[in-house]
Amino acid sequence: MGVAGEQCGDVLFMEPGGLRDLLRGLAGESALLSPTRTEHGFDLIRVEPGEAAVDPPWNGARTIPPLKGLWFRPAAVVARSTPETSGAGLDPAPIAVYGARACDLQGLAILDRVLRDHVFREPVYCASRERNLIISGDCTEPAESCFCTLLGGLPHPTAGFDLNLAPVSGGYVVEVGSARGRALVGQHTGRFAPASSEQVEERDRARQQVEERVRRQNERFATREPFERAIEKNLKTRIWGEVAATCVECGACNLACPTCHCFQLQDAAPSGAPLRFSLWDSCISAGHARMAGGGTPRLQLTERFKNHYYHKFVSFPRNWGVTACTGCGRCIDVCPGRIDKRSVLLQLETRWIPSEVAEVE
């Protein structure tokens, strides 16, 4: 693979003790979010300054909750009644995230486009994005629901991190991805050594194996055509009613999704002074597109279900140049209706038959 340690100044090696110290330091300066093992998998919780002394856990795949909520808050005050005070409360504390995965970083890159780098700047998102540090890691234990490779992703980060860690014998190969990451390394110089070519090779071998594993587990879901095409040719077929049959409209897939970013603005004056809140919304919920007077263009669940896929795989790419799915598989894990997006997309391709066309013009 040609990535020799000696040639790449930014590939370093760190022992577990170094990582512990690094995280301990971060927990003191900012809100440190770190994976924590629960009976369901890894959750992401805030580490109190003293706690970072214990060995940081290694989450081999993404955490259960998406990271988006750290920046794109489930509920945030985004404006106030008087413009003079509108900046107040929009200066969130610095955060440091440990254990982000490639798909998390891709999710964040997508949200950056929409909430920060376009005409619109979501104020809380932008403010918290400026003050974050992200330490990501290679995936070592992908979940069965992981399908990043079907979306052109890889199970190891290639961009969007400050530091990336890959476990190798005796420690971690550390890649520096930003000036902020370089500064952090500078503060802890004693903890880092240049990675040897053996260490980098070990990392790359592990990467290849994990990538293979994710590819293999998704072979049966591979489609011949792009997902976009499968959806478009089914816009008027009845197949959506069948694939959505077990959907209970809970909206968990929206909440768990690292790219879903529908929000609703709600004005209220909880303590006298009017505030404007932004709240996460769900395109599966019946009220999502409801208009004044009660009418909605997507009355039927099947229409909303279809729109969910259409937006992610057809209209979002057209508007933003990237598919709004990272293949993290969280929607599969959280769905009480056992709906697997991969299988839905495959069915759209393979089960399409002309006689299913509901409306013929």
Binding site: P123, L235, C262, F263, D267, L275, R290, A292, G293
Partner: protein
């Protein structure tokens, strides 16, 4: 700059148009230059905001009018406002009417109910530009005489040179001697030069649908039919996710859409 932060606007006057429609004359703290068809988010601090297309002339940015049908939570609260009240305003958003397409054309304007409000901004624009449009033909319908919006202005409009205005009500009503029938009935024998005409329509979705079919019937191509669409538009920048018609987000790509762009999208017109 916080895009979600409204500027302040003072309600200078409230005009009662119909039992359910009022026009609010607003003076925003800063001028709001807008194009006909673009919309603003108008809100009451602590209550909520909703999208409205100004019904006043786009030539005036310091003072704008929004004509509001009372139909839900925010509009109920707006209707309770009196002159002197303060509201919040964001915008303008959207593309507005594709005025350039109207050059040297006969412009057919078809409105229904409060749909005449956005169209009035367009009419003001067209009336000031009659040197480059051939004719303006207006057809308007409301459910009953009391719901005819801007009724005081019809005679004045009809009297303008190269402007033609006809109104109708859906069902016969006591004391009404004018035309009766849905607005589509006024499109049956139009004396317009179809090959050189374009149409703009705004009104309830079901009306838009039948107006569109009628326009296609009389020979207008989809490329020359423009519809002011209704969806739930909130952020105004194509982000918050609910105002889409297929791949288009009405708040940034509309709210006025060319029928050619949406005709193949399932359920675009309900």
């Amino acid at each position: 700059m916080n895009d979600l932060q409204p500027m302040r606007a003072r309600v200078e006057d409230v005009q009662v148009e119909t039992p359910t429609i009022r026009t609010f004359v607003l003076r925003p703290e800063r001028p709001v230059p807008f194009r006909a068809g673009q919309f603003v988010q108008l809100g009451i601090p602590g209550i909520g905001e909703a999208p409205f297309t100004p019904s006043s002339s786009p030539a005036v940015a310091e003072r704008l009018e929004t004509t509001v049908l009372r139909t839900g939570f925010v509009t109920n609260a707006l209707h309770a406002l009196e002159p002197g009240a303060e509201v919040g305003l964001r915008g303008p958003f959207g593309k507005g009417y594709p005025i350039d397409h109207f050059r040297d054309r006969e412009v057919l304007v078809v409105g229904g109910g409060v749909g005449l409000a956005p169209l009035r901004a367009l009419l003001y624009h067209l009336f000031s530009a009659m040197h480059w449009v051939r004719r303006v033909v207006i057809r308007y319908g409301a459910r009953n005489p009391a719901e005819l919006c801007f009724r005081r202005q019809y005679a004045e409009w009809a009297a303008l040179e190269r402007v033609d205005f006809l109104e109708t009500i859906d069902r016969p009503a006591a004391g009404w001697n004018g035309r009766v029938g849905l607005v589509t009935t006024l499109l049956d024998d139009l004396d317009i030069d179809i090959p050189n005409a374009c149409a703009v329509s705004c009104g309830p979705e079901v009306m838009l649908k039948f107006v569109t079919y009628k326009l296609l019937d009389i020979g207008l191509p989809p490329e020359r039919i423009f519809l002011s669409m209704n969806r739930n538009m909130s952020c105004g920048m194509g982000i918050c996710g609910r105002c889409n018609v297929g791949p288009f987000f009405l708040c940034k790509d509309g709210p006025d859409m060319c029928y050619a762009d949406i005709k193949d999208i399932p359920y675009a017109l309900g």
